[in-house]
Each structure stands twice: as C-alpha cells, then as structure tokens.
C-alpha cells in the first residue's frame, strides 16, 4: 500500500513536470495568460507531489515498513528516531527523493514570487525548471526506485551508513548541500530564459542574481560544513583533501561566485551579459556533473554494490543538458549584445574582469585535477589519483591572487582612473598589509606564501573596512548625523553593498585562516601507556585511562587525557573510536579543544583498553576556528544582502508604496 502510494505520487510528479515543461515552452513562444496560468499550476502540482512522496517515505521509515526497498536498505529498529528521520538522505535512492523535494519547493517559491513579473521570460524559465524536474522524477520512477517493493521483507534492516550516525554535522551537511545544488536550477532556468527570449535587461538581472545568491549561501555553508565534519570526525587533522566529492561541491561554487560578480557589471554597465549567462549555466551543469561523479549520493553505501542504472541516467541527462546549453549559447548568445563598454585600464571594472578570469582558471584547475584520473583510467587502464600537491600548488597562487584583487578592486574607482587616483586608492592600504605581515612574522609565520597572504589580507581588510565605513562617514560629514544614526541609516539604504562587503570580510578572513592553519601548525604521533605523558608546544598531555562503552548500535573505546597548557590545567579530552555493528572499520571521533587562537586536536590511531595503551595523533592547528567563523560571516553577509533585495523586488513588482521607505530607526 505504502510503496504503491509513493510510486503513484512520483508518477504524478513526472506527469505534472513534463506537461508543465511543454506548456511553459509553448507559452514562451506564444505568450498567453491561460498558458502561463497552466504552467504555474503544473509547477505547483509538481512541488506538491514531491512533498507528498517525501512524506510517504518518512512514514515508511518511521513505521519500519521493510517492504519498501529503501527502508530495507537503510532502516533499522535499533537506531534512534532522529536517525530514522534523516535516513531519507543517507543513501542514494532516498537522497534523490530528497533532491526532488528541495527542487519542488524551489520551483514553487520561484514561480510564486514571479507570478506577476517578467511575463516574457517566466514561462521559459518554468519550462526549463520543470524539464529538470521531469528528469529527476523520471530517475525516481525508473532507475532509482526508492519505493520498489521487496517480496520477502526482512525483519530488520542494517540502519543507515554509520558515518551519518556518527556526527550531527553529517546530518546537517546534506540538506545544505542539496539546497545549494538544487537551487542552481532556478538561476539556470532564468539564464536559459534570457537566452531564449534574447534579452537580459536591468529588470531581469535582479531576480537572476538573487536566485543565484540564495543557493550560493547554502553551498558556501555546505562546503564548510563538509570540511568541518572531516575535521571533527575523520581524525587526520585537516578539513580539506581535494577529494572528488569535495571538489564536486567546490566547482559550482567557483563559477557561481564569478557569476555573482559579473552580474554586477551587467547591472551597472550592461556588459558581460553573455558571459554571466554562461557562468550561471556552467554552475548548474557542474552541480549535475558533481551529482554524477558522486553517483548523486554523498553517501555510497558500503553494503550495497548493486550496479544501478542511476549513473548512466544522470550521465545521459548531463550530456543532454551540456549539449542543449552549448547549442543555446551558440545560437542565441549574439542576441545579448552589450549596451556599454568595459573599461580595461586600471579601474574597478578591470578588477572585476581579473577576478572573473581567476575564478574560471580556478574552476578549470580543479576540474582538470578531478577528471584527470578518469582520463588515465580510460586511456591506460591504470588506477591513479591526483594528489593534494597538484591542487595545493595551483590553488595557493590563485587564492592569494584573488585576495589581492579583492583588495585592489573595491579600492579603485569605476571607469577610467587617473594615476593620481590609483595612487591615492592603493597606497594607504599598504599600511594594513604591512601591519598584518609584521604581526604574522613576529608570531612565527615563515612560509613565503603565508606571508604574502597575510600582506594581501591586511591590505584587503583595510580596504574592506574602509568601504563598510564609507557611507557612515559620508552621512556624518554631509548631513551632520551622529555615528549611531549614520550607521542605522546607511545600513538600511545600501544593504546589498554592505552585505557584499561583509561577505568579502568573511572571505578574506577565511583565506588568511586557511593560509595560517595549513602552514604553521605542529603535530606529532605518539604511543602512550597508562599514566605516561607527552608534550607538544605549550601543551602537556597525560594518558589517564581507557574505557569501553556499549550502546545498542555501537561500541566505543574512549581514552581520557588530562591536558595542561604552560603548567595550568585545562581539563580532560576524550578522543574515541566507535565500532558500528554494520561496519568493519571503526570510525574515530577526535577530541578537539578549540580556542580563537588555536585548536588542540587529539585523534586515536589505535587503542587497547585491556593493556592500557593508546596511539595518538596530536596536532596544534592555529586559527582553524576562524574558518568556521569566517563562513558564518560570509553566509550572514549574503543573507543581509539577499533579504532586502527580495523584499524590494516584491515591492517593485506590486508597485505598492514607495520602495525607498527608510527603515525605522533602532532605539
């Protein structure tokens, strides 16, 4: 009964999406009010069916209905209820259903928001969204089949992948990742609509930018949550390994970031329209490439080696989407002619251009490194992997260059700048650069790239802070407002600009923190017997005892270490090893003592409770906390820019009341 309902809902979703896509394209070609109304109805219906299908799956999971194959694969009576709920995205088939859910919600919201706006573009956009939706419903109806029935249902299932159960970050990571990935469908549809209509006007670049910013925020959080999880769980002490799965999430982020910037030039100068559309389309295609590369599940269940038809189906979709995009661009790109001229001398315009080129270079670098093992496998039949050295060697210079452009760009004026203007803009921030460089040197940084990153970091920090303060200073000077009033007034006016600079502040903080943490830490590996001590830097560690805990679904071996720094006791740390019933390799949970300056990181290599010995990896990682803080700053900056932008857009569309109403003053 339950599997039947699920399958029926998915088929209805497929039907609604296919019909809506056809009606949408037809309405785009021959606009009509009725056609647009039906396109919207199909979009809402698709969303409703996806939501209902997900609810049916959650019901099956919670009632342990093992006749549903997905439940038989990931369900278990012995895991806590919250694990059962999140099992929805713990394995391949369920994660595609979850994908459908997120997509349905996005499509419904984006359709509803623009129901009365952009009549020439929207039918095409919804048509493209629903074409993508039709593909994913097809995947669910055919190759993925989360609702397939098992003739002899087992009494109990294995439970979801142990990695999911091991840490809360792994529970939060997939929803953010999917919200980022799936959300790229919306700007993709809007960009395709611009191509099909043959126009990308001022009115339309705004929704495009805003609907790109939203998934960008999710993707930013998701990437860092993944890194944070790796840091807190995997126990090798790092947060990024250039693993294909990580790269898969990073690639669309790079092109989306580039597109967010080039969109500003479209808006201000009417240039780079085709380029921006290309970047937006590339961002979506890279999410599908990532989905294919990871076989759509971030979790490849270790138990299941069943060769599924999901991979080939996603590849077929990717191929069609790639060729469609190339054809659409080749045929229509000339219709998006620039309205203005791009300044190429020393100017903010040129900095935007350099920034864009650097991001695209970065994208190709990572893409090449990720795909290269596949090339070797295909050509020579040898299995190989592109290691970190390749990525590190190429990404460090690009990252530092981006940091530099992030400082120089906002400092320079728009349009052509005179030599005097350039000097006036670029000389003062050298103070900030020198200050951070000297500080880093005094604190022990010696790596030349790190020192360069610190110098540009200081430079960019001064520019960014000056830009944040600029409107406040202007208001205080020209209107005689007090400091607080000026802050309140300026933040309610130029929120998009301010949000962007907050993102910049976060980004530069992240780059500096990454540069410092990856080059200045110390570490050691040591074997300790009960009662023995070791030191690393200012820290002293004493291995007090080891213990064994048994829970229904796992057994944990825990070491207790007393920690002191410079002679004063800091408390105890408990790194552990968890052995899950369904997994042979134990999963460690390192113990991390975080502070704003540095983390003390303990990870167990081996532990013997009976004889009382433990093998430990001990690391001191400076500034790692700042990466997480910086990400929060970036996400908040993005939201700060996005929320009023969405509101203003709505107000503009409804034409109700003035759009520039000053916000009430905070008390």
């Amino acid at each position: 009964m339950v599997p039947l309902a699920g399958r029926l809902l998915i088929l209805l979703g497929l039907l609604a999406a296919s019909a809506g896509s056809i009606v949408g394209f037809a309405t785009g070609r021959r606009p009509s009010a009725a056609g647009w109304a039906w396109t919207r109805r199909f979009a809402y219906a698709f969303a409703a069916f996806m939501v209902l299908a997900t609810l049916v799956m959650e019901y099956a999971l919670l009632t342990h209905d093992f006749s549903v194959s997905y439940v038989a694969h990931v369900g278990s009576r012995s895991v806590p209820t919250w694990v059962t709920v999140v099992s929805l995205w713990s394995s391949l088939e369920g994660s595609i259903l979850f994908w459908g859910l997120v997509m349905g919600i996005y499509v419904a919201v984006a359709t509803y928001r623009n129901r009365e706006a952009h009549p020439e573009y929207m039918p095409y956009a919804v048509g493209v969204w629903l074409a993508c939706g039709a593909f994913f419903s097809f995947l669910l109806a055919g190759p993925a089949q989360p609702f397939a029935t098992i003739p002899n249902p087992p009494v109990d299932g294995p439970g979801p992948n142990a990695l999911l159960q091991n840490h809360y970050l792994m529970v939060m990571h997939p929803p953010f990742l999917y919200s980022g990935y799936v959300g790229m469908t919306i700007p993709f549809g809007l960009a395709c609509a611009a191509l099909l209509v043959g126009r990308l006007g001022h009115d339309f670049i705004r929704p495009l930018r805003n609907f790109l910013l939203l998934p960008w925020i999710f993707l930013t959080i998701a990437i860092v949550l993944g890194g944070w999880w790796a840091y807190e769980v995997l126990g090798w002490g790092g947060y990024w390994a250039w693993d294909p799965v990580e790269n898969a999430s990073f690639l669309p982020w790079l092109t989306a970031t580039a597109a967010l910037h080039s969109a500003i030039l479209v808006e201000r100068k009417g240039v780079l329209k085709a380029w921006t559309v290309t970047l937006v389309i590339a961002s979506y295609l890279l999410t599908i490439l990532g989905t294919f590369m990871t076989r759509s599940g971030v979790f490849n269940s270790v138990h299941s080696f069943t060769q599924s038809a999901i991979g080939p189906t996603i590849l077929a979709f990717l191929g069609v989407a790639l060729l469609f995009s190339v054809a659409a661009l080749a045929l229509r790109v000339d219709t998006l002619a620039p309205e203005g001229r791009l300044e190429t001398g020393a100017s903010r315009d040129a900095a935007f251009l350099v920034q864009n080129l650097l991001f695209v270079l970065f994208t190709f670098t990572v893409l090449l490194g990720t795909v290269f093992p596949l090339v070797v496998e295909a050509v020579r039949g040898a299995q190989m992997s592109v290691g970190r050295p390749y990525f590190d060697r190429l990404s460090v210079p690009i990252g530092v260059a981006l940091l530099f452009v992030m400082g120089v760009g906002p400092a320079l004026p728009w349009g052509r700048a005179t030599g005097a203007q350039v000097r006036k803009a670029l000389l003062p921030p050298l103070i900030g650069g020198a200050a951070l460089l000297i500080l880093g040197f005094l604190l022990g940084a010696r790596n030349p790239w790190t020192l360069l990153a610190l110098f540009f970091g200081g430079f960019t920090a001064q520019v960014t802070l000056a830009e944040i303060a600029l409107p406040v200073r202007q208001r205080m000077r020209s209107r005689g407002e007090g400091l607080l009033e000026a802050i309140a007034q300026s933040q309610s006016r130029g929120r998009r600009r301010l949000g962007a600079y907050i993102v910049h502040a976060g980004a530069l903080l992240a780059i500096v923190a990454i540069a410092v943490s990856s080059t200045t830490g110390t570490s050691k590996e040591i074997q300790l017997r009960r009662g023995e001590s070791t030191t690393l830097g200012a820290y002293a560690l004493t291995f007090v005892d080891a213990d064994r805990f048994t829970e229904p679904h796992r057994e944990s071996l825990v070491a207790r270490l007393d920690v002191s720094k410079n002679g004063s006791r800091l408390g105890s740390l408990y790194p552990r090893m968890n052995q899950y019933e369904s997994q042979r390799e134990p999963i460690g949970t390192p113990a991390v003592r975080s502070s704003l300056t540095e983390d003390l990181y303990l990870s167990i290599h081996n532990i013997d409770v009976d004889s009382g010995s433990v093998g430990l990896l001990v690391l001191v990682n400076p500034m790692v906390s700042w990466i997480w803080i910086a990400t929060a700053v970036m996400a908040l900056g993005g939201l700060f820019a996005l929320v009023p932008a969405f509101r203003a857009e709505t107000a503009l569309v409804r034409e109700t009341g003035p759009t520039s109403m000053p916000a009430p003053e905070p008390q």
């Binding site: 194959s69 038989a72 694969h73 098992i150 002899n152 087992p154 109990d156 299932g157 294995p158 490439l289 294919f292 076989r295 490849n300 270790v302 138990h303 299941s304 080696f305 069943t306 060769q307 991979g311 080939p312 590849l315 990717l318 191929g319 790639l322 060729l323 995009s325 190339v326 054809a327 661009l329 080749a330 045929l331 229509r332 790109v333 000339d334 795909v371 596949l374 090339v375 496998e377 295909a378 299995q383 019933e581 369904s582 997994q583 042979r584």
Partner: protein, 190 residues
Amino acid sequence: MMPTPASSASPTRAPRVNRKVLVAGLVVVVPLIAILLLNLGRDPHSIRSPLIGRPAPPFSLAPVGGGSPISLESLRGRPVVVNFWATWCVPCFEEHAALVAAARTFKEAQFLGIVYEDDEARTKAFLAERGGAYPSLMDAEGKTAIAYGVFGVPETFFIDGQGRIVDKFVGPLSRGAIAELLGKAKGGAR
C-alpha cells in the same frame, strides 16, 4: 526526383550560429562526456583484487551451529565458491536463492559461506528461515575477510582445484554469473 539546392534551403529565418562559442563549448563538453562515458562501467569501490591468480589464503573455520572446523586445504581437488555475506546485507539475501540453487545443481563444486561481521544466532535464524544447501562458517575476528581483502558484502571468490583464486565477484550473484565463473574455476582444475 532531383533536389535543387534552392529548395533545400529553409525559407524561415535561419538562426545565426556563433561559431566561436560553438567550437569552444564543444571542445570542453565533448571530451568531458567522452571521458565520463568511458568510465561509466567503473565502480569507484571496485579495487582490483591482487589475489586473482594467486593461491587462496588458507582458513579453517567452524560452521554456524557447531561442528568440526572446515578448512580450505581439505577441499583441494574440487572447485570452491567462497561467499562472504551477512544477514544485514540486502543484496546478500537477494543472491541467497541463486547460491542455494547453484549449490544443489553443481554438486562437483563446494560452496561455502563466510559470515561477515554478524552474530551466530542471527545467522542461524536466517538460515533456518531461508534454507541453506552448504555450510556457512563463522569468521569470529574477521581475520579471513581481512586476508581476502573483503571490502563490503557480498563478495564471492571462485577457487580452482589447486587452491588458486580464479576470479572474484562483487555484489549479488545471479545463477548465470555463478555458472560462468564456476566454469572458469573448473577449467583451472584440469
């Protein structure tokens, strides 16, 4: 009928193709699709076993439900099918019926199950419910699974009469696959 060049030209406005964009797009996209297509059959988890063609690691393990241990050594001269499985693995019970049927058909070969990361009581209950035609052995500390480099279950090794591993199969077996791989193991015995 002779088509004239004039009549084959479309009367509608032909869209102007931006050749540069087309070529640049195809240069990036076509190799990418080609590479992905070529790698399609590849399972990122399938790490080629270096054991193929080598002597199978020896073992001597007690069967589920008690009894004297069965060693690989004692089966020399007959092809052996060693299937690593567990009751918590769904593909394992998908292939269970095929294995039982094959064990009944190919009486010249010895089929063995090795229980991977599971407890004896549950395995016993599973076999009582689903039926078994060959012994399943308990691999208490997982030493045999480690020796065979088992990555996940089910994995099945086909061993010839001289105790050499002829092939390895990852994932649930069908009757056809068993017959084919067993044929290779029998060929090696001659």
